[in-house]
Amino acid sequence: MDIRKLAVAAASAVALCGLSDVACAGQYDGVTINILTRPGPVIAGAVSQRGKEFEKLTGAKIIVNEVPYAEIFPKVQQDWSTGTNSIDVAVFAAGWGVELAAAGLLENLDPYIAKDGKIDVQDIAPYFREFAQKIGGHTMVIQVDGDFQMVYYRKDVLEKNNLQPPKTWDDYLAIAKAINGQDMSGDGKPGYGSCIFKKRNAQSYFAIQTIASTIVQTQGTAQGFQFDNATMKPLINNAGWKKAFELYKETSKYGPPEELNMDIGDTRALFKSGRCGLLIEWGDPGPLQLEDDAKGIKNKLYATNVGSKEVLDRKTGKLVPVSKETAPYAIDGINYAPFSAFGGWGGAVNAKSDPKVKQAAYDFLSYISQKEQSNVDVTMGWTGFNPYRLSQLKSTDLWVKSGMDEGLAKNYMGAINDALNNPNMASDLKIPGAQQYTGVVLDTELARYMAGEITVDEALKNIEAGWDKITKDFGSDEQIKQMALAVGPAK
């Protein structure tokens, strides 16, 4: 054999075997991995791009199937339950895995991780490692993204108006009111005080939970804020959620006129064009403001966590001021409960796939999650991947290198670290039927309340009835057990 060919082969072998302890050059020749996720470029685009690299490294063929967001879960469940098994990997919300795991459809990834010296799971932030990835104590999902919602504000606009960043939802409303209608984009067009994706069947049900969690959850993550976790009685028809609904509706006064028909794509287009003063969002706006079509807001969109000075007293059902007793994790009299909305995109492997495909699928997920790839992906807004590893949040270097100025990088990392280190971080539902509870029942009734079809009391009562029906369908005892597995024993 030609010496040069030998050298190339050797170099390739080193590169490929360096992928993980198990993946080597040509190891997956002839292996096809079918992946299902949301349409790109966000998520699907990033997965496809890393997929091409993986193909070159291992010989595997990666096919990324894209379906509308709302159809990911039913399609995966139907495909795997009916034995069709045309999908090997589903990249979806970490919380959705519970229902699939309960039905025995997910591969336990612990043995794969044990053999994998590259993934470095200890570098994954504790919340995502222990709550998002694991189901019943076993790792069933590999995180490729870390999700929770924060409030973003236009630093320049607030400074111009001598306003401080919001700390509470009342502050949020006051600032939104003060800056609404001002020209924030420099083109003479009036800006909006607040921009939130309020379209039905989109992301609205996450934003409402970001507000409600700060009022209803006070005793740490395991307490929860959607249910009394010990009984699965809905914790929705109370003064806390009522206030959250009312606050949410109030923000519409300072939002775009067609806000009720705006999804995340619409609000992102709007804030990137510089027309939003405040917004509720995931980690994406941090790097998104560095993109070419967002030049007007580059290094101006800062992040913060917003809380409440009033919290729900579960015994009386009334709102009470924050104190050491009512909200022990409160900071400066404000109860924070950063909501891990969606829980982050993660990949799960079909338990029924061929063993070789399962190993290849795991290796691919590991490849995306490894620091070498992940620490680059999270700095690019278009990927949809947000920080979830400790190494991504240790220093500002990564972010400054991506184009942020030092001030924004510090602010962005600080807000994320504050949330991730908060013992009162609020978990998204991670029990069977999670999508039905929030994505359907909560979302529909919230939309009807926002449209003025029903009152807040009717909405909360309807949600309570809807949630009770779902719990009854799945079995109350089973749901209590799953809830304990998801967030720990009820407090």
Partner: protein, 385 residues
């Protein structure tokens, strides 16, 4: 004509073979059955059987497991949930107290239906005919009551009346405009071939494309027409947050797409109206309106009724436009029954989804059969007479 006895073969005969009948004659006699059998088998396999299989979903609670779907029989619970359970408001609407207008409307409709049934009985209608009328009258009364208890009493209506709104109002608008355009293009005007092609194009666009196009055009804050909306003073008008505006815009998009269908069929019908009849009427001094009413309309009526029936059946299934333009919102203001069923399916609530789909099937069959039997057939008989 062949002589059976001359060609009959001794020995084994196929089942049903008449004495003295040959194989060839037997095959010939059953040829229609054999020719149609493949088509019937395909329809049974791919249309009828799935429709019946859906009944199993509609009367079950369905769960997914590693070994497949798990069905738990709940019988009519999924249907009852749409009428009396937690889905009632979504499907039927919200009920408080009935307004005076609502009671009056109900009384008028009830009286009219009773009179209609009385006339059928007095006219010597058959038992089958009477049963059909009773079903149609019951459905009409139910819809009238729903209308009176929701819209006429200041309450929100549900997906059932939304669907009927799209069917009745949308199809009526489309029919009137389609007929007018067809009438214009049937006249000797310059460039009529160009207009024929132009008016036909929207029908060839996918409904998803139409939905996105209208959503973009009607985007008042950041769409390509934002300067226009701003200029005409509608820059802050959020049509998508107003229930009635959103419904009308869905109808606008639907009409833009489907008027060409009515147009092209009615144009063909208009061009088949004998010119000598029209010319004779013109010679007699009839006005254009008289010519249309007395000569043209009776002759195109069979086609007009048929095209309206086909359009109505299609309109009952409307899903793409409200899904793309408003996602069923604001609230559930623009959600059709098909979209309602789709959303339930997306939530893996197969039982409720199948129940809503079946209720839509019942509604479509009763409304369209009633329209055909009591409107179309009646008009056709009159026209023939």
């Amino acid at each position: 004509m062949s002589d059976g006895t001359a060609t009959s073969q001794p020995g084994i005969s196929p089942a049903g073979l008449s004495q003295g009948e040959s194989w060839g004659e037997w095959l010939d006699r059953h040829s229609r059955t054999f020719f149609i059998a493949p088509a019937v088998t395909l329809v049974l396999l791919f249309a009828i059987l799935p429709t019946f299989y859906t009944v199993v979903f509609a009367i079950s609670h369905v769960r997914f497991s590693a070994t497949g779907l798990k069905f738990r029989m709940v019988w009519l619970e999924n249907f009852a949930a749409q009428f009396t359970g937690n889905q009632q408001v979504h499907f039927l609407g919200r009920f408080t107290s009935m307004s005076i207008a609502g009671w009056l409307f109900t009384a008028v409709i009830a009286g009219a239906l009773l009179w209609w049934l009385y006339r059928a009985v007095a006219g010597g209608a058959s038992w089958v005919g009477l049963a059909g009328r009773l079903i149609s009258a019951a459905m009409a009364m139910f819809i009238a009551l729903l209308f009176a208890a929701t819209l006429l009493s200041g309450n929100q209506w549900g997906t059932l009346l939304n669907t009927l709104f799209y069917v009745v109002v949308g199809c009526s608008i489309q029919f009137v405009i389609g007929l007018m355009l067809a009438f214009l293009c049937s006249q000797p005007i310059i460039g009529k071939n160009f207009f024929r092609v132009l008016f036909f194009i929207p029908l060839m666009i996918t409904p998803l494309g139409v939905g996105y196009a209208f959503k973009m055009i009607l985007d008042v804050t950041k769409g390509p027409f934002q300067p226009f909306w701003q200029f005409v003073g509608l820059g802050n008008w959020a049509w998508s947050t107003d229930a009635w505006a959103a419904r009308w815009f869905v109808i606008l998009g639907d009409s833009w797409q489907w008027i060409p269908f009515i147009f092209i069929v009615l144009l063909a019908a208009l061009e088949n109206v004998p010119k000598d009849h029209v010319e004779a009427a013109q010679v007699d001094g009839a006005s254009s309106f008289q010519i249309f009413r007395e000569i043209t309309w009776p002759q195109i009526l069979p086609v007009a009724a048929t095209v309206m029936l086909i359009r109505m059946i299609e309109a009952f299934k409307i899903v793409d436009l409200p899904n793309i333009m408003t996602s069923g919102g604001p609230g559930i203001a623009t959600e059709s029954m098909t979209l309602h069923s789709l959303f339930l399916w997306r939530a893996n609530n197969m039982g409720d989804s199948a129940a809503v789909a079946y209720l839509l099937l019942i509604l479509t069959v009763v409304v369209c059969s009633s329209f055909f039997n009591y409107v179309v057939v009646k008009r056709l008989r009159k026209a023939r007479a």
